[in-house]
């Protein structure tokens, strides 16, 4: 029997509408205003007036948030296109996926160093170029793992869903929006959230950079901090930290939590899971009446798009023989191109700088790599026991998990000045004491993953261990350490990647006119960027990418595979 729902009468606004509507309208005005402000006239060499009054922080915070949002939007569009292409075209896949692997190994601030002058040239006489460079840097911190996630989900859409889509003759457009994207949604959202937390670090770092001996700033929390550092204004740094905490919490409550709660319906499980994510904001919006009408817009757009896209033609797959022939051509072209690129590189390299210099940069890279490794090991030593202790106590884990997530999102570079003041004050060794700054922001991922893994150890296993009388080191060796190993590896990979990235801002730090420079590749990239030596920047960034790829391939991925193999039960 069909359920005869009556056509909905025109809704009367309820209390919630009266609160929500003005807020939404105000939001439009704020965004429009900020958009105008972001493209004010600007010429290289001109110094932007950054006020250190706490009163300007809400406005600066707004600019920073808008940059994040813009980068997020770009990342999303990029992800959809890139991942779809890689998942649906086998030739594209063979180029795009290895390329993505390389792209995600390039240090984020390296992108900024390389591209900022280009972006500024695009919009002469306007701040828009710098704005775009910052947005691009944040984009590069988010897009790659979102794309990977979507690509992997698209490749693993269950067979029966695919067959149903084929059977009902959905065209590629319908298939993407109705089957593939919803299926990929939970993974994509999770990765977006992880990207966002990394993004705060980079938006802060890139709002004030030195290019070709000129300090380029755009108004935001990052430039506020930079100015405070230049003017040795400790209270202002405190205000910036407070502002950042508020911003991240608001961002989470107003944007991410509602989205996660909304996206819960995409979970590919037929059984209702116990704890669905909740969001008070989303519930509020859902219970408005007039505002809910806005939800009609996407469905209208959707219907229009379906009418515009063609129906599926009935056709068979290309025969295998033609495919083989096409494969040959494809590989030949790729090989020729690769050889040409390599030859060019070998030609160009010695022209701009001699081999000894390359050797020097590689040595610097190894020093930074060593620091990263030691730092990850040290944080593991601290956070693994703490994480296990917390993970085994559900009540604690519930409280600590969001806190660790918040700490990972909090841009650690806001805290750098505090360390620098201490180092300068006590005349500490610069090489040793700036090193912790590299891991300050990303070690929380280790805590976060270990807590998650420890709380996922099955109760039965813990009871079995208890029943058998396992205690002390034996208990750790046999149960806890192997149990959290996969989680730890995941966290450590993220932490180590974060430390590499952070080295560019952490190895050169300043307070007023005092600048501390540690030995390492990060400092090299940072300094060559400041001097505007394009070729050297490229060399530094290239070497760093290479080292990151190598450590990932040779060390982390093997560890990850080992973890997957050994700990898996079925």
């Amino acid at each position: 029997m069909a359920l005869n729902f009556r056509p909905p009468p025109l809704p009367v606004p309820n209390r919630r509408d009266l609160i929500a509507l003005p807020l939404i309208i105000a939001l439009f005005f704020i965004v429009a205003h900020a958009g105008r402000e972001m493209a004010v006239p600007f010429h290289l060499g001109q110094t932007l007036d950054i006020s250190l009054s706490p009163a300007v922080l809400p406005e600066y915070g707004l600019y920073t948030v808008l940059r994040m949002l813009a980068a997020l939007a770009v990342s999303f569009v990029f992800t959809l296109g890139y991942a779809w292409l890689a998942a649906h075209n086998r030739y594209a896949e063979r180029i795009l996926i290895p390329a993505l692997d390389v792209l995600q190994s390039v240090p984020i601030l390296g992108y900024l160093s390389i591209t900022v002058t280009g972006f500024m040239a695009l919009f002469p006489g306007s701040l828009a170029g710098v704005q775009l460079a910052v947005i691009f840097a944040v984009f590069t911190s988010q897009a790659w793992n979102m794309t990977f996630s979507l690509y992997q989900s698209l490749k693993t859409v269950p067979r029966d869903l695919q067959e149903a889509a084929t059977l009902y003759r959905l065209n590629a457009w319908q298939r993407f929006w109705k089957v593939e994207l919803p299926f990929a949604m939970p993974g994509l959202l999770w990765n977006t959230m992880m990207s966002m937390s990394g993004g705060w670090f980079f938006v802060v770092a890139s709002e004030a950079i030195t290019v070709s001996n000129q300090t380029v700033m755009v108004p935001g929390i990052g430039s506020y901090i930079a100015t405070a550092i230049a003017q040795k204004d400790l209270p202002a740094i405190g205000w910036a930290i407070v502002a950042m905490i508020v911003i991240i919490l608001l961002y989470d409550t107003l944007l991410f939590r509602p989205i996660v709660a909304w996206a819960d319906k995409f979970k590919f499980e037929m059984t209702a899971a116990g704890d669905a994510p909740r969001s008070a904001v989303l519930d509020f919006l859902r219970r408005t009446r007039v505002l809910r009408l806005l939800a009609v817009i996407p469905s209208l757009l959707w219907q229009a798009s379906v009418r515009l896209t063609p129906r599926v033609p009935l056709r068979a797959a290309a025969p295998a023989s033609r495919r083989r022939w096409a494969d040959g051509v494809f590989y030949a072209i790729v090989a020729v191109f690769a050889v040409w690129a390599l030859a060019r590189l070998l030609q160009v390299l010695p022209r701009d700088f001699g081999w000894p210099m390359v050797g020097h940069v590689i040595l610097l890279g190894l020093i930074t790599g060593f620091k990263v490794f030691v730092l990850v090991a040290l944080s593991a030593l601290v956070w693994v026991p703490v994480g296990v202790w917390i993970g085994l106590r559900p009540r604690w884990a519930q409280k600590v998990q969001p806190l660790a997530q918040f700490l990972a999102a909090f841009p650690a570079n806001l805290l750098f000045p505090l360390f620098v003041v201490a180092i300068v004050h006590w005349h500490l060794n610069v090489d040793v004491w700036t090193a912790p700054l590299m891991i300050l922001g990303s070690m929380w991922y280790i805590l976060f993953s270990v807590v998650g893994a420890a709380s996922a150890i099955p109760t039965d296993m813990r009871e079995a261990a208890q029943n058998l009388g396992l205690r002390g080191w034996l208990l750790w060796k046999r149960l806890y350490l192997p149990g959290i190993f996969p989680g730890f590896v995941t966290g450590a990979i993220t932490a180590s990647g974060g430390a590499w990235n952070a080295s560019i801002v952490a190895e050169v730090v300043s307070w007023g006119d005092k600048t501390l420079v540690a030995t390492g590749l990060g400092a090299y990239i940072s300094q060559t960027t400041a001097q505007g030596k394009t070729a050297q920047i490229a060399l530094g960034v290239g070497v760093m990418s290479l080292l990151v790829i190598l450590t990932n391939r040779l060390f982390w991925h093997r560890l990850y595979d080992l973890a997957q193999r050994r700990v898996r039960l079925d």
Binding site: R287, E463, N467, G469, R471, V567, D570
Partner: protein, 450 residues
Amino acid sequence: MAAIQQPAPANAAAAPRVEIFRTEHLRKSFRTPDGAELLVLDDVNMHLLEGEILVLLGRSGSGKSTLLRMLAGLVPKSGGVALHRGQPINGPVPGLAMVFQSFALLPWLTVLQNVELGLEALKVPPAERRARAIAAIDLIGLDGFESAYPRELSGGMRQRVGFARALVINPDVLLMDEPFSALDVLTAETMRTDLLDLWTERKIPTRGILLVSHNIEEAVLMADRIIILGSNPGRIINEMRIHLPHPRNRESQEFRDLVEVIYGAMTARPGGRDAARRQVPGIGLRLPSLSVNALAGLLEELDALEKNTANTRISLPELAEDMRFSVDDLFPLIEGAELLGFAQVEDGDIMLLPAGRTFVDGSLQERKQIFARHLLDRVPLVARIRSVLDERFNHRAPDSRFLTELEDHLSEDEARRVLDTAIDWGRYAEIYAYDDNAEVFSLDNPQAEA
């Protein structure tokens, strides 16, 4: 209630046997996040004697696994006395070995390393450790798999590792938490027989076995004594001895009779103070998690059996066998059918009531109508939701309004579960509509005649 407690045999009384476990007025309660106390086990008085297999039989939610864990010292008690060989139990008791439903093997250790684990904890020297582990592996029929990882083994083989790991420490008592219920029927039967062989032929030094189960036939097959636990909160509702000699024949008349008797005991309406509680089904009535389709399936099955056998009373074991259901699956169905007044259970037999027959014979629309009528009459929660919606001028109410009311009577999880059942039933009966996204009840689809 029919008393089915049989007197202990005289010869057993002659030589008083040593008690391994004893509990007196044992209680267990958990604290819910909002601070309310939730009683899961109440006033449990039981004992385990040397040389016997005791089966704790109960449905899910009867706290039987919790009781087992309290005896093992894995879970602290909330009140009463629990003794192991006269000593109070506080913390893991040495000499007890436990076998888990999920096997609980460590996936990163080989079979041999898993089996050695308990000996390692006892600081047995490596050479002896290895020799004893290999002996246990041989005993349980796993030779050749010493270096395999658990993931390479089938479920049955994994549980054999679980048994080897438990037996290698020569446990005083073997505690088993539904060890066979994750296995397929044939494997489970083989393992039961193997275990009984080890036990009856005294190949293992274990002095007592305590088995937790929800499978009545398994209990009758293995037990010397069965304790039946009731639910909400868990408490002992019956106890009986099984005198059949081993090996027992499932097809024999005595066996079948015993199974039937136990079915009756498990579905009997508890007397005394519980009966009083049942008679006032308030808003906090625990609705069984049950889909309307499953209920309809049960009623249709009853109708068919009735027509085939020309007998209005159908025994529960027969019904379970006919529907290929385990007890755990069958009981919520029966409970739902009784609650809604579609069927009635008496002495282990179930019969269709007139309303149930009307339901079976009705069209889809008629089914919905009779279901709606019974729902509003017999389930106070559904009636409450409907009346609140009727009173409100916009005919909408958030589910949190009813959830908080339910939480006065039930734990948080249980309240959610009961409300979900009410949502499902009410939707089918078209008594109200529910928007899962907004979590709001409404009368947007007021089709049902209330």
